[in-house]
């Protein structure tokens, strides 16, 4: 099973901000159990999607040479239930990035309504620490690349966007 909770990025401004989309559909099995007769996208998975959006934004600024792991969510608020047919916009903005950790401010929206908001703190596991873990990270990034998740349509300024520079450098190193 692929643990990917975003469909693709629509904005990617290296080291600053990323926006990803998540379409919620009744074709997703879990919605039929959560809850029977009243399908609602679990807030835990919305949190995971926000954490992936922010984690890839942070990872890219290190050319994916560090494993970026979710460490803590100091605060979070959820405002309404997300239903099939909703399109979630996950916006993450970098608050700070240090060598060994970082934080993003994350917001989930449906249309112009703010559905969830939170702060997400990541810990960074450096290059050369654990080979299996880092290769797992690389294969995750590759999977994301193959699925076209980074094929950003337009950048924040409206210009046709290119691949995030960290992803390009990452590919050159691996190739």
């Amino acid at each position: 099973m692929r643990w990917i909770w975003i469909d693709r990025f629509v904005e990617f401004e290296s080291g600053k901000r990323a926006v990803a989309l998540k379409n919620v559909t009744l074709a997703e099995d879990h919605l039929h159990d959560h809850f029977p007769g009243w399908p609602v996208m679990p807030n835990s998975l919305i949190t995971e999607g926000l954490a992936q959006t922010g984690g890839l934004l942070i990872g890219e600024s290190f050319d994916f040479e560090k494993k970026v792991v979710l460490a803590r969510i100091p605060k979070a608020a959820y405002h309404f239930a997300v239903r099939p047919g909703d399109q979630l916009h996950y916006t993450t903005e970098v608050e700070y990035v240090h060598e060994d950790g970082s934080m993003v401010r994350a917001t989930s929206r449906v249309g112009d309504r703010v559905q969830a908001e939170m702060e997400i703190v990541y810990g960074h596991i450096g290059a050369g620490t654990s080979a299996p873990e880092l290769s797992e990270q690389k294969s995750f990034v590759f999977t994301m690349k193959l699925l076209g998740i980074f094929d950003v349509g337009r950048g924040a300024n409206g210009a046709r966007a290119i691949e995030p520079p960290g992803l390009i450098r990452f590919q050159e190193k691996v190739a």
Binding site: A71, R72, P74, K75, E95, Y96, H98, D100, G101, M103, V121, G123
Partner: protein
Amino acid sequence: MASESEVFEKVRTALTDALGVDDDEVVPTATLVGDLGAESIDFLDIVFRLEKAFNVKIPRGELFPDDILTNAQYVKEGKLTAEGMSELKKRMPFADLSRFEQNPLVKDFGNQLTVQDMCRYVASKLS
């Protein structure tokens, strides 16, 4: 310059935001690790919030000089040596280390730092 109570209020906000603890838990005598449940990753977050709240730069190792505690020169059988202790005091003039000094087990060091120590540290950065 910020008054003592202004410093305390901002430190309190940084700690409640980073650790998700209640206002009334953050008292001057509370230890960050033991009483407020801070873990190593939280110190990064706390330092960032302090930098932002007070508009200061906090270099790594200044608030928590962990390099001393991992230096074989200063540690014997899990305890900080007298030399290590005097080095630690030099680096942490803002902290009350008297309790730690009685039995300076390195593994207990993490639980020394109190809210009051942190306020004194910030005040020293501002003066």
